[in-house]
Structure formats: structure tokens, C-alpha cells
């Protein structure tokens, strides 16, 4: 899949809460076909402290408007600078990078599971599955009701289940405690979230022989498979998160 490098125009910078914001970007040229799970490498100008690009998942794509969105958590200096970017500004990006979630077979029962910042690639995945005639269930976990983001976006994809750690909305606990995990009879689960969450989901899937893919995060310099900094220890040896991933089948991971 061809990769591009270009200055993309910021159409909107929407603040969701203290931690999260969404950037919508548009290209001069027609956007290539993005696949769910893929990411972009964003250059952040203006500070010696943000020397390297930042890898950020593609949150959703609107080919009609030739735009796509990035859901970003303010985590460090780079993302803080990005949070202050204004409509009309340009961001240099390399895109699209990485592999993608695989498509399910016909009639599979599919669950999309995630939480926190891990929800970033899941909206695109949900919309993509729907456009490929798969109606997945969606299970999202948050710390509390105030930290829930983008939930309404999933309502027209499939059935949505929520957990909060304090029980302020949905079932109380972690997504791995949610009843639907067992009652849903899923044959395939896609997961993205904190490592502890993904490991727990992976454990559930291994135990119940469910096909499962997770999207991993890692420190990276290049994003195109040359620096070898974002290594994942797998049964196939060291693989790059950026080019062999970020999506991995749990059976390939040494979890």
C-alpha cells in the first residue's frame, strides 16, 4: 500500500474533555483508501522537544468530504502542542501506515471492545465493518460517566454496551467483567485499549477459542520499518509495531 507525505489542513479541532480532542484534516489531493487500524505519523513543528513524529491512529474517515479524524489524548509535550492547533493550520503527515484489522467471515458474531484512548481506531473499524455488511456489537469501558467520549458515534453501528469503573453508567467494572462477553457468543473480538485491558480480553479469547486481534501502541521513530525501535516480541520473533502491526493476532503475541 503506497504511503504519502503531505501537509494536511486542519478543518476542526474539537475539545471533548480535559484529556481528549479530535482533529479533522483534509488533503489537497484525494485521500488514499485507509484501512481501520492504520495510523499517521504527525510532525509537530516549533520545539526541539518534539523532534520525532507522533504516531496517531486514524479515528474515522469521510471520503465524501475528503477528510479524516484523529482522536488524541493529551499525554505529553507533543500532544499538548497538537491540542492547540487551529483550523486553517497545516500538519505534515506520513500516511497511511501499518496493517489493519482483518475482515470477519460472513455470519461471524463480532465484538469491538476498547477503552480510554484505545477507542481511537475503533470508530473507523465499526463503520468499516458496517459498510462491509458486518454489524458488530460494541463494548466500551471508561473510568466514569464524565470520561465517556464519542459514545453516540457508535449507536448507528451496532448494539453498544458500556462499563464504568465506578458504575456511574452502564455495568460497573472493567469491560472484561461485562456480561455480554460471555452471553454474546462472539467468534471474533477486536480490541484496543490499555495493555492490561487487551491482555485480559486476550486471555478471555484464548480460553474460549475466540479469534482476537489487538492494536498495540509503542514508541517509534520512523513509522516505516527502518529504525527498529518499536519492536514487539512475538512467536515469529521481533516484529515492528509500525509495519508488521499495529494490529496483531493474539496467538502471535507472547501474552
Amino acid at each position: 500500500m503506497a504511503k504519502y507525505i503531505a501537509d494536511l489542513k486542519v478543518i476542526e479541532n474539537k475539545r471533548l474533555n480535559d484529556d481528549f480532542f479530535i482533529l479533522e484534516l483534509s488533503g489537497n489531493d484525494k485521500l488514499p483508501d485507509f484501512k481501520p487500524g492504520q495510523f499517521v505519523q504527525v510532525k509537530i513543528e516549533g520545539s526541539p522537544d518534539t523532534f520525532l513524529r507522533r504516531p496517531i491512529s486514524i479515528h474515522d474517515v469521510d471520503y465524501g468530504r475528503n477528510t479524516f479524524k484523529l482522536l488524541i489524548q493529551v499525554a505529553g509535550k507533543g500532544t499538548k502542542m497538537l491540542s492547540k492547533i487551529r483550523p486553517g493550520d497545516f500538519l505534515n503527515m506520513i500516511y497511511p501506515l501499518g496493517n489493519s484489522f482483518s475482515l470477519p467471515d460472513i455470519n461471524e458474531k463480532v465484538l469491538i471492545a476498547g477503552g480510554g484512548c484505545g477507542v481511537a481506531p475503533l470508530l473507523f473499524l465499526g463503520n468499516y465493518l458496517k459498510s462491509n455488511n458486518c454489524i458488530p456489537d460494541v463494548l466500551l469501558g471508561f473510568r466514569n460517566s464524565e470520561r465517556i467520549i464519542e459514545l453516540d458515534q457508535y449507536f448507528n453501528i451496532g448494539k453498544v454496551y458500556v462499563t464504568t469503573e465506578d458504575g456511574s453508567q452502564g455495568e460497573k467494572g472493567f469491560i472484561t467483567n461485562h456480561s455480554v462477553l460471555t452471553t454474546g457468543n462472539y467468534s471474533r473480538i477486536y480490541c484496543c485499549g490499555p495493555t492490561s485491558m487487551m491482555r485480559a480480553i486476550a486471555g478471555h479469547c484464548k480460553k474460549n477459542d475466540i479469534f482476537c486481534e489487538v492494536s498495540l501502541e509503542n514508541l517509534m521513530a520512523c513509522g516505516i520499518g527502518v529504525c527498529l525501535c518499536c519492536i514487539v516480541d512475538t512467536v515469529k520473533g521481533n516484529l515492528c509495531t509500525c509495519t508488521d502491526g499495529p494490529v496483531f493476532n493474539i496467538n502471535d503475541l507472547k501474552w
Binding site: 504511503k3 504519502y4 523532534f51 516505516i224 527502518v226 529504525c227 527498529l228 519492536i231 521481533n238
Partner: protein
């Protein structure tokens, strides 16, 4: 038309912009962005006799104007290179140079013998400066007697162009350049990364799994430039400048200080077009300054005013 070429002995390079080992994969990773064949040369990922898995993560830490890495020479070994990578890179119309690494002198010798047989590889870069391996690597490049010994041993078996990549983690790098020149090196490239470290204050532990790693990027450029200048004055063989070159101006600094060529490293991580932009920038600079041959500016600052054409 500006002449951009330079030579290491009878090996001609069409221009002075090469890519640094470990920052450019095997070239094909950049095919979507640039025509790799336009480059003066590419130095492919450090290769060892046996496959190496490298160090544990975290292998990388961002630092002001730079980065630390502790990759540890992850590669699939020479056999994989010969079988699967070499056939793939045959068609690049540029000089493809293999960077070789070992734990023992015999490793370097065996690698050099095998690569000597690969018709389309006109040169090797002897890496005696990797700071991220427990054995060998930088150990060879920080002791004069070891640098001498490994260069001599490889020279004895390798018939093509031998470039020795020097470590900056020494008191006087020019001494090392002179020693490898005496032993028959055809060129030196410098600098490899500087040994550095970083601590994650939030986690209260070292940022890298190996605690120390190699610092690269613009942060090291003034040091690299100083060392290239020192070495260029000390040896007669061509010097290839490396270290934090991000822009045309950076590359020109190295050329003016005495480097015959440059390698673009960390810059390619941030801008995959960096090497080609720098190549185009150098040509434009020469045209604007009225030079017809790049050799007119190599070591320009080291010559007496009357030796230089008055151009500015």
C-alpha cells in the same frame, strides 16, 4: 551543469549524499517517497554473521533535538542478506554499501570475505563504533590497537573499498582515523552515535532497557562537525561526514569542513525525503555560488584564502 561526484579510490559516487546505516533499511522502504537510485549511495542496515534479535524495548527515547537508540544491531544475519535482500537491491543504480559488525575479529573477517563475493556491493563500512552491543562494536573503535587489528584483518581479505566507521566516544578521533588509514582503509565515515542516557522521571527508571544508548540527531551535529574537521586535516583518504544532518546547510557545513560526502541518518526518520532535498539543495547552492565542481568547496574553510576562488 554542476559536477557533484566524488570517488573513493576508483569507486565513483555520482553525488555526495548517502544514507546512514540503520536509518534507511535496505532502501526499498523509501520507494514510496523517493527514487533511491538518485542518491550517491546507500549504506544498508548493520549486518552480522548470525541473526540478532537486538535489545529489549524500550529501545528509543526522544531527547531535545535528538534521540537515543539502543536497537542493538537487530538483523537477520549475512545468510539472509545474501539470499533474500541482495537480489532485491541489485537493481538500484547507486552504490549499495553493507555495514558489517562483529563480536570478534573473525566475525568481521568472515563477513568481509562473503560480501567480497557479492558482485554488486562495491564497498563495506566496517562498524567498529556501535555503542549498543555487549561484545565488539564500539570496543573495537575506542582502542587504537583494536581498531588497527580489525582493520588490518579485514583489509587482508577484502578486495573492494573499505570504509571504517569511527566512534566519537574517544579522546582523539583523528588518531583512530590515522591508524585505520595506515592499515589500508580507503575511507572513514564519522561519527557513529554518542553514548548517552536518559531517565524517565515519572517512572523513576532509565528510559532505555540498556540504560545507555546512542545519541543522534541535530543535538550531536556540532560535535560531529568538529570531529570531521579534525579528521579531514589528519588523513588523505576521503572522509564521509555523519551526525545530525537535517538540512542542506548542515550538509554543506560538513563539506566545507573537509568531508567529501555526507550520510543522512536520523533525518530520514522524520522526513523520508530529507536525503533527496539535501542533494537538490547542495546542487542549488553550488549553482548560486557559481561553482562548477563540488570539489571546489570540499575543505574550503581549511585552505588559505589564496587557494580558494573568491566567490562571496
Amino acid at each position: 551543469m554542476v559536477k557533484l561526484g566524488f570517488s573513493i579510490g576508483d569507486l565513483h559516487f555520482k553525488n555526495p549524499v548517502l544514507t546512514a546505516s540503520g536509518t534507511f533499511g535496505y532502501g526499498s522502504e523509501f520507494d514510496d517517497f523517493i527514487d533511491v537510485s538518485r542518491l550517491g549511495g546507500i549504506v544498508v542496515k548493520g549486518t552480522t554473521l548470525e541473526p540478532r534479535e537486538g535489545n529489549l524495548c524500550p529501545r528509543m527515547a526522544e531527547t531535545p533535538s535528538g534521540m537515543l537508540n539502543a536497537v542493538g544491531l537487530q538483523n537477520k544475519g549475512i545468510e539472509y542478506f545474501e539470499k533474500f535482500i541482495y537480489p532485491r537491491i541489485l537493481n538500484y543504480e547507486t552504490n549499495v554499501i553493507v555495514n558489517i559488525n562483529g563480536s570478534y575479529i573473525d566475525d568481521y573477517v568472515m563477513l568481509a570475505e562473503r560480501i567480497d563475493k557479492l558482485e554488486k556491493i562495491p564497498a563495506i563500512e566496517l562498524n567498529i563504533s556501535c555503542p549498543n552491543v555487549k561484545m565488539g562494536g564500539m570496543a573495537f573503535g575506542t582502542k587504537l590497537s583494536s581498531a588497527r587489528e580489525v582493520t588490518r584483518a579485514v583489509r587482508a581479505v577484502y578486495s573492494k573499498k573499505l570504509i571504517v566507521k569511527l566512534s566519537p566516544n574517544v579522546t582523539n578521533i583523528a588518531d583512530f582515523a590515522k591508524v585505520v588509514e595506515d592499515e589500508g582503509a580507503d575511507s572513514v565515515s564519522l561519527i557513529n552515535t554518542l553514548l548517552g542516557m536518559s531517565v524517565d522521571v515519572a517512572k523513576m527508571k532509565p528510559s532505555l532497557s540498556t540504560i545507555t544508548g546512542g545519541l543522534s540527531g541535530p543535538a550531536i551535529k556540532p560535535i560531529a562537525l568538529r570531529m570531521v574537521w579534525q579528521v579531514a586535516k589528519a588523513v588523505k583518504i576521503p572522509v564521509i561526514g555523519i551526525g545530525g544532518i537535517m538540512t542542506t546547510s548542515d550538509a554543506l557545513e560538513f563539506l566545507l569542513a573537509g568531508a567529501s560526502a555526507v550520510q543522512i541518518g536520523t533525518a530520514s526518520f522524520i522526513d523520508p525525503l530529507a536525503s533527496i532535498k539535501i542533494l537538490e539543495g547542495i546542487e542549488k547552492y553550488l549553482l548560486e555560488k557559481g561553482f562548477t565542481d563540488i570539489r571546489e568547496i570540499i575543505g574550503y574553510i581549511n585552505r588559505k584564502p589564496e587557494q580558494n576562488r573568491n566567490c562571496c
